[in-house]
Amino acid sequence: MHYLSPTTVDDAVAMLAAQTGDCRILAGGTDLLVRMKSGFAEPDAIVDIKRIEGMRDILHEDGGFRIGAGVSGAEMSENADLVAAWPGVVEAAGLIGSTQIQGRATMAGNLCNASPAADSVPAMVAANAVARIAGPNGQRDLPVAEVPTGPGKTSLAPGEFVTSIFLPARPDRSGDAYLRFIPRTEMDIAVVGCGVSVTLDENGTCTDARVALGAVAPTVILVPEAAEALIGTTLDDAVLEAVAKACSAAATPISDKRGTVEFRTHVAGVLARRATKIAKTRAGGK
C-alpha cells in the first residue's frame, strides 16, 4: 500500500483519480485506523489530506465559518469566535471520544464515516451546515444532511472528498446545542444524539428552528415536525413537550448492544427537550 500526502487539492484529486484499488482519505484517522486495526479496512492507498493548504484552517466567510477538513475538535474549541457563534456544533465535535481523540478527530471525517451515531452530524444538520466537496469534476457544495446515505455510506462519488465544512452566518438571538446520551460519562458512542438550533425575535418568539437526531435511524435525520412545533412559540414547557413527542415519533431506531428501540425512542424526546432549552437560553430566550 501507499501513503500519499498531497499539498494541494488538485494533487489530491489527481492522486485519488490515479488509484485503482481501495483508496481511503485520512483526516484525523480516528475511524480509519480503528478499522484497519480491526481488519475491516485494508486500503491499497491512504491519502492524508492534512498537509493540503487550508485544511487546518478555520476561516471567516460570509459572516459564517469555513472549517477545513483537517481541523480537529480540540482546535475548534480553541477558536473563540466559532465557540461564540456555534457552541452546540463545537461541543458536538468536542464530544467525539477522549481528549486524545478530540486532538485528531475532524467533523469532515465524522461526517464521511457515515455512522448514524456520529456526534457532530446532528449538530451540523441542525446548523444547516454545507460540505464543500472536491473531485474529478471540480468543486461542489452539498448540505451536510445529504452526505450520509446509510450506515457507512455517503453520496460522495468515487474520487471525491470533503475539503471543508461551512457553518452559515448567525442572525442575532440564535443559539444551538447538542446533547447525546451515553451509558458512561465519556468514551462511548452516542446511544441517541440530538442537535437543536433556534433563532428568536426580539420578543423571544422562535422564528427559525432546526432539530436533528442521531442514532435513531440509518442516517442522522432532520425532524421538521419538531421545528414546526417550535417556530412561532416562546419555547415554553408545553412546546418543549411537543418537541419531545415529535422527536420520539420521528425516531425509528433499532435495538442493539448500545440500546433498545424503547430506550432510544424515549430518550430522543428527552434529549430534544433538554437541548432545546439550552439552545433557547443561548439565544437569549427566557
Binding site: 486495526k37 480491526s38 481488519g39 446520551f181 451509558p183 458512561r184 460519562t185 465519556e186 468514551m187 462511548d188 458512542i189 446511544v191 442493539d256 448492544k257 448500545r258 440500546g259 433498545t260 424503547e262 430506550f263 424515549h266 430518550v267 428527552v270
Partner: protein
Amino acid sequence: MALDSKSDLPQFKVVGTRPARPDGIDKVTGRARFGADMSAPGMLTGLILRSPHAHARIVSIDTSKAEALAGVHAVVTRKDFREITDDDFTADILDNCMAGAKALYDGHAIAAVAASSTKIAREALKLIDVTYEKLDHVTDVDEAIEDGAPVLHEGRSDETVPAGMSPNVLSRYEFGHGDPEEGLKNADHVVERTYKTEATHQGYIEPHACLAQMGPDGQGDLWVCTQGHYMVRNTCAAILGIEQGQLRVTASEIGGGFGGKTTLFLEPVALMLAKKSGRPVKMVMTRSEVLRATGPTASTSIDVKIGMTKDGKITAGFAEMRYQGGAYPGSPVEFGAMSAFAPYDLEHVKTIGWDIVTNRPKAAAYRAPGAPMAAFAVESAIDELARHFGLDPLEVRLKNAAREGTKASYGPTYPAIGLEATLRTAKDHPHWSAPLGENQGRGVACGFWFNFGGDTCVTLNITPDGTVTVSEGNPDIGGSRASMSMMAAEELGIPYEKVRTIVADTGSLGQNEVTDGSRVTFAVGLATIEAARAAKREMCKRAAMIWGIDEEAVEWVDGAAQPAGPNAGKFPPMTLAEIAETASNTGGPIAGHHEANPEGAGVSFATHMCDVEVDPDTGAAKILRYTVFQDAGKAIHPAYVEGQFQGGAAQGIGWALNEEYIYGDDGILQNAGFLDYRVPVASDLPMIDAVILEIPNPGHPYGVRGVGETSIVPPLAAVANAVSAAAGVRMTDLPMSPPKLLAALHAKG
C-alpha cells in the same frame, strides 16, 4: 482506629508508613518492562487463528498454504501437542489454548503461526483452511440446563450431579446447616427473588503477552506477564512433556491481572511455535482477543429466599445458584455457595451451587471468584427485608453479624473477625448521616473473602556493604515489593531504603504459588519475615564468634547484634553493616531463607456504602459518593491497602452499572473492545473513601490478612441497593445499564 482490638503486636517503625515503592521510578518513566516490551534477536511474531463460530466441530484444518508462504516459519495446531488424557489437570487448559475436536466458543484458538513479520503472520492466518461443522450453541446459563439445550461435553458431570440433568451441569455443591424451611416459618416476612448477573472481564489494561524460546535439547526460556510464573512453568512443562527444571520462566512486570492471569492462554502455543521454528517467538494478544478468549468471570442466575422477623432477625437463608463458567468445568460457584451468607450468624442456612457449561470462553478467576454475585443476591434481599420493615439496614446487619464464635454458613467457627467493626465504623461515619437529594439513594452491603497461603519461597541476602536484597517469586501486581522491603526492614531494624526486593525467575527460587487469593502480603510477607529472622540468627552467631561468647548470649536489637544476659554491655553492639563487612572472615556470605506452605490466612470482611443519583428520564445512574470499610488485619503499606479497597470498589461499580458480555443470537461476542465493554472511566467515579480497620490475624506475625479480594464483593449489592432506593424499584438484574433501569422505571409507572 477506636475499634481496633488490642493486641500484643510489636511497635512498628516501618510497617504502617507510606514509603515510595522500589519500582516507582521505572514505572513513571516508562522504563519498566511489561510482557510486550521484550524482544529477542531473530524474533518471530506469533498469531492465533480463532473460531468465528460459537460451537462447531472441527472437520479439518489445512495449513499447507500458510506453511508455503514466504516468511512463515511454523504453523501449529492441536495435533502438534501430545495426547493428554481427560483426567489430566492440563487437559482443559490445553484444549482452551488450542482447540481439539470442537471449537467451543467464539474466539477459541484453532491454529497458530509464527512468521518474520506481523503482516506475513496475518496473511498466513488467512491461508489456513478450516472446515467447520456448525453446531447449535447456548450462552445463557438458564437456557443451558433446559431439556434439549445444545450439549458441550458428554460424560463430564461428576458424581454430585443427580441423574437426568442436562449434561451441561457438571457439579453440584451444597453448604449450610439447620433447616431453612423450618426457619422461614418463624419469619414475619420472606423475600424470594431471582437475581441475575452478566459476565464481566477482569479488564486488565495489559493484554496477554509472552516471548518464548525453546531449543531442540528441551531447554526453554519464557518471558511472560502472569500472576504466577511457577504455575506457567509447571503447566507448560506438563503440556509439552518437558521437565520443569529445563524451562526457565521470568515474570515481566504485570499490567494488571485480578485473577485473569492465573492460567495459560498463549504460553504453550508460543513455546511450541518456538520449538518448531527454532526461533524466539513473541505473541501479544489484541484487546479483542483478550475479551473473546480470556477471562471472564461467570454469569449467574441465583434464587434467594430469606426470612426475617419484624425486629430484623434473619430466621433462615436459602440460595440456589447457577454459575456458567464457559466451555469447561470450573465456574467459581462453590465459592459463591460458601460465601453467600458468610457475614451472618444464622441458625438455618443452606446454599446449593450448580456448575454449568456454555459456549463462552473458559471463566478465569476474578478477584474473590464467585463471591460478588452471591453477595449481590443475598445483600439485595436483606436490604429489601430491612426496607420492608422500615429498619436501618446497618442495624439489621449488626443484629445478624457473624462474630468470634459464630458458626459460619460454610462450616467452621470464626475466630476473631472484623465484620462488626466495619459495620459500627460505617454507622458512625459522616457518610451515613449525610443528607440525600431528590432522585438520590444510599445503599450498603457487606462482603467476605477467605484469603489463603500456599507454597512460598523467599531468599534474603546480606550484601558485603550491609544492604539487603530480598528475592521472592510472586509477580508484584500492586506494590508488594514495597511491602516485602518494609517487612524485611522492620524485622532487621534497618531503614526501608536499605532493602531492595526483586521478583526472581523460576530458576532462582523454589516453588511459589500464584499471586492470587490475596496471599502475597500474608504468605510471602510471612516468609520474608522468617527469612529475615534466619539472617538475624546467623548474624548473631557471627557476632558471637567475634566476641568469643555463646551465640545464645546474643540478641538482635534495632538493627544490631548485642550481647545479652550476663554479657550485656560487655561489647558495643555490632550493626548489620559491621557484621556484613567481615562476613568473609566469619564463615562467608550471610543469607536467610524461608521455604514453607504457610496456612492460616485470616478471613476478611468489608462493608461498603454508596450514594447514587438516578436520572428518571434516561435511567442513567451516577455514583455520588462511595466509602469502603474493610478489615486489613494489619496494613503494611496503608496507601496500597487503600488502593486495593478503591480498585475493588471501582471494578464492582463497573460490574453493577455498565460492564457486561453481550452475545448475539449467533453466539458471537458483540462488544469485544473497550469501546463497548464499558469499564469505569475517571469521570464516572467520585473519590472513593477508604477506611482501614485493623483486627490482627493471629496467623501472621504482624497480623496481616489479605486485602485484595474482599473489596470487590460488596459493591454490586451496595450500588444496586442505592439505585433501587433512588429509583424506587428493586433492581435484580446486573448490569443496571440505562436501558434496563429506564425500562424498570417505566414498568413501575
